[in-house]
Amino acid sequence: EAGVAQSPRYKIIEKRQSVAFWCNPISGHATLYWYQQILGQGPKLLIQFQNNGVVDDSQLPKDRFSAERLKGVDSTLKIQPAKLEDSAVYLCASSLDWEQPQHFGDGTRLSIL
């Protein structure tokens, strides 16, 4: 089975610019997650979708981050405007449902100058 696809793999922007990340989950997976992983730390959940509805976005900085899941399949995560502290790897994961193990993409490494 094809894995979770993410693009781009790397992105360098200046602070106050905007950026968007794309994720295509494994086919048939109802649950989709976006995580932020700062260097040397474990992933931190930003937002969780069940089909195309948001289940949890309690740790998403909503003044600058937004996410959507189109038709319950692909998802995009946007940052506008970016701050220096947003430098991190953004990981997308999917699972059959919220109780099942999660499958991760290889992430987008974001550097803010």
Binding site: G42, L45, Q48, F104, G107
Partner: protein
């Protein structure tokens, strides 16, 4: 906030030796999972242990869970250079959220 804490933060061993990593968590859990992350890659699920289980095996992996101490351990037997990676425990509490620890960086020297 991150609920799990792995110990040690870094571990270096020789090929063929066993590697043990420990994880502590703060609140009651439904299950605890271990993931591996190779440098520059996403996380890969290794094993899941439920709160009513005490030990689980998968190939060269052995996981134990002690809910009274709120701790878990991951043992990798007969380690190989390919086992070099970061290992994370992730706990699922009474809500649906999976909370990851900071990870243990394992280096297996050939």
């Amino acid at each position: 906030s991150q609920q799990g804490e792995e110990d040690p933060q870094a571990l270096s061993i020789q090929e063929g030796e066993n590697a043990t990593m420990n994880c502590s968590y703060k609140t009651s859990i439904n299950n605890l999972q271990w993931y591996r992350q190779n440098s520059g890659r996403g996380l890969v699920h290794l094993i899941l242990i439920r709160s009513n289980e005490r030990e689980k095996h998968s190939g060269r992996l052995r996981v134990t869970l002690d809910t009274s101490k709120k701790s878990s351990s991951l043992l990798i037997t007969a380690s190989r250079a390919a086992d070099t990676a970061s290992y994370f425990c992730a706990s699922r509490g009474s809500n649906y959220k999976l909370t990851f620890g900071k990870g243990t960086l394992l280096t297996v020297n050939p």
